[in-house]
Symmetry: C2
Subunit: 216 residues, 2 copies
Amino acid sequence: MRSYGQYCAAAKALDVIGDRWTLLIVRELLLRGPSRYTDLREGLPGIATNLLADRLRELEQEGLVSREDAPPPVATTLFSLTPRGEELRSVIEELVHWGLPFMVDEPEGEAFRLHWLGAPAELYLTDHAPKRPPITIELRTGDAPMVIETSDGVVRARPGEAEHPDAVVTGTPHLLAGLLTGMVELDDAVARGLRCEGDAEAVRRVLPREPARLHP
Amino acid sequence: MRSYGQYCAAAKALDVIGDRWTLLIVRELLLRGPSRYTDLREGLPGIATNLLADRLRELEQEGLVSREDAPPPVATTLFSLTPRGEELRSVIEELVHWGLPFMVDEPEGEAFRLHWLGAPAELYLTDHAPKRPPITIELRTGDAPMVIETSDGVVRARPGEAEHPDAVVTGTPHLLAGLLTGMVELDDAVARGLRCEGDAEAVRRVLPREPARLHP
DNA sequence: CAGCATCCGCTTTGATACTG
DNA sequence: CAGTATCAAAGCGGATGCTG
């Protein structure tokens, strides 16, 4: 990207991460952890493959991403965030927070990947009973599943499936988004077609007690 | 801007504010308050005038900026942020915070406007004696001056000059940036060429007690 | 002068095809 | 799997011109 040429912290930040697709690549790496090129592409529907390659190279040069060849069993290249790249988490969080109102409209013809909801999940869910044994919830849409877990009172989200989930929640992207941000209550969501199998109380234990304020 | 077409809060946010220059225009409006077209251009060195016009129109359509014709004494158009636009403050703050390490290098051939330091100032300065009478500090570089004021223990920054400042601090952009972020102590800065006229204790009262952590 | 609109060359992006 | 290569389309930068 062409530099703004301004001695200003915001402009300098945008010099590095202001390019199209760059922050979404960071989002992927934040949500997925170390990832293969193909998985990144899968999580970035719409990106041209040459652009992904370009951006990864730039991010590597800026010291935000590192590339390592995984050892034999996997034998592939893994891209991951450096500590400096990890520091972009709060930028992404603010972006997600600001962009939340746009999730109120039902998606029309938009791409969706379930693990994208990991960002709002970690932002808005809290363990309301941190001293009780940890719980695991699996979310499903039809897409690859994702898991929400508590540990030490902290709620973590990751792509993948759970071994022995306390609950399995299945629904449309819109319903799941509404649920995780507290904009829709569990009962309402179920009434509108959400399926919640297993321990509903485990789900309630982490759901927001009031809707994510649209805005602080 | 072309939409990413992803049902994800971050992507949707970037659909709106991800265009080149857009966030810097928001920065200007946050730091200056309601502004004339010409003042915005002055604060955005490097922008092409047609782009500024385009972006302002887009921002208006998205409901982040409003345009009003100021009454006779001024008789010009004023652009300001709507509440929804104001909500981007935290996004800019995180961007400034993340971009701060880039300010450590002395600027070379980069444009500078003193009021840009208003963002780090409000982020890192605090009134360490909120119960004592409020103070006013004027900053100067050669550029248009800016003012840092305390009121109710909150530190505010704005472009302009002060009526009866408790102190006037003059120095290079690099020195002032170092000072406001706590990366350089007042004494060191003075030793390196900063001029501090008036009540140095007033300045110390708001300066960070420890350097802005590069990163939390 | 403030607030744009137009034109034009250059750069970036997007879509698709192809390769070690 | 992890990319290059190619080429058209869109976006941007810079200059300049117009209008109230």
